[in-house]
Symmetry: C2
Subunit: 218 residues, 2 copies
């Protein structure tokens, strides 16, 4: 199996299972990888042989420790590149993901560690996602979704879970950037729309958008 193929599978399995650490099913993978379910079955069988995943047919998949280790290193490369592109090379939030998608496959630890050092070994990328360190350790946070925030609470914007260009542009327009201070003014009861103050301006956020915004209690 080609290294790039292995990496794309493992990264995707990691991303799908990291939130709730559940088993990943084929259809999710087929969607994310943009290949047919039949191909996913075939791929998982090979990854099982390579001992990167435990795959039981018609049930689901999870990473082995070897698979998780590899996945973490790809996630690290991806997020370090995203951060470097944004902070050192002047790319916008909405542009970095696509380029990092290619750069993440360049396997050279010295390069990634060098970029990380230049950035001051950041623990979070421009989207607020944690960057595993060189050993694969991830900084645990007490981040919550904006949709779980409480009225009159004061929060700091830490990241997003939707990386579409449209969404990122929408956030930028309202100055909802990483580190922005947010005061929850109110939550509409009937549709869970959130009204908040950011940079002294009132912004209304739909329930759907609030699901995609990660904040930290201040």
């Amino acid at each position: 199996m080609r290294q790039e193929t292995v990496e794309n599978y493992l990264k995707t399995i990691y991303n799908l299972s990291s939130n709730n650490s559940t088993v990943v099913v084929n259809q999710q993978l087929a969607n994310k990888l943009e290949i047919s379910p039949a191909s996913v079955t075939e791929g998982l069988r090979k990854l099982h042989e390579l001992k990167y995943v435990v795959y039981e047919k018609s049930y689901g998949t999870r990473l082995t420790s070897a698979g998780a280790k590899l996945a973490l290193s790809i996630v690290r490369r991806h997020r370090i590149w995203e951060t470097y592109l944004a902070k050192e090379l002047g790319f916008g939030w909405d542009e970095v993901h696509e380029i990092a998608e290619e750069l993440e496959h360049i396997k050279n630890d010295k390069l990634i560690n060098k970029l990380s050092a230049i950035l001051g070994n950041p623990m979070f990328d421009p989207h607020g996602d944690p960057i595993p360190d060189a050993k694969g350790k991830i900084k645990k946070s007490n981040f919550i979704k904006l949709s779980e925030a409480k009225v009159k609470g004061n929060y700091s914007l830490m990241g997003v879970t939707d990386h579409s260009a449209a969404f990122l542009k929408y956030l930028e327009k309202h100055q909802l950037i990483i580190g922005a201070n947010i005061d929850i003014k109110g939550i509409e009861e009937f549709d869970n729309t959130i009204v908040l103050i950011c940079n002294k301006k009132e912004v209304t956020i739909s329930a759907k958008a609030a699901e995609c915004i990660i904040v930290e209690t201040v």
Copy 2:
């Protein structure tokens, strides 16, 4: 045909034909690409179909203008990355080629142009190899290796291809620094040792060292 495969063929054909602009034969390609001659035949047939090369069987290959254009853009990416890795990220010249070999396939003009701008849009990499500009234009250089210099020629030292501390100290000792003026006094026939005048002092350079010194015809 996969984009990376196309790029590797075209880059190699370019590198083999750029010096004397002759037609490239299969065996050279097979060697450089580290694949069998049979595979080269197959590959060239496809590249011919794609109109990147003119390929006449049992004769040889040359790039079409479309092929040369693509080749030039890969050479640009490769040399910009090499320069960036060395100058901005602190890699040694012995390390950069291998990494650039992977990075050169990342296709994003904005990225390469950004790196180029940071470096001051260099026209040559420190090997003395020209870097094509964004339009594929190459600045013709009269850089040569000292080992190719002629007796009684007058040259200017432009760079080195060996960056070991020992070598650099050796050069410094003889005041062989960038920009130094060099007059070739003689070349020993039996071992190609070069005797030159630098700063009014006579210096003897071994053939091996002369391979690593880049000079410009004055």
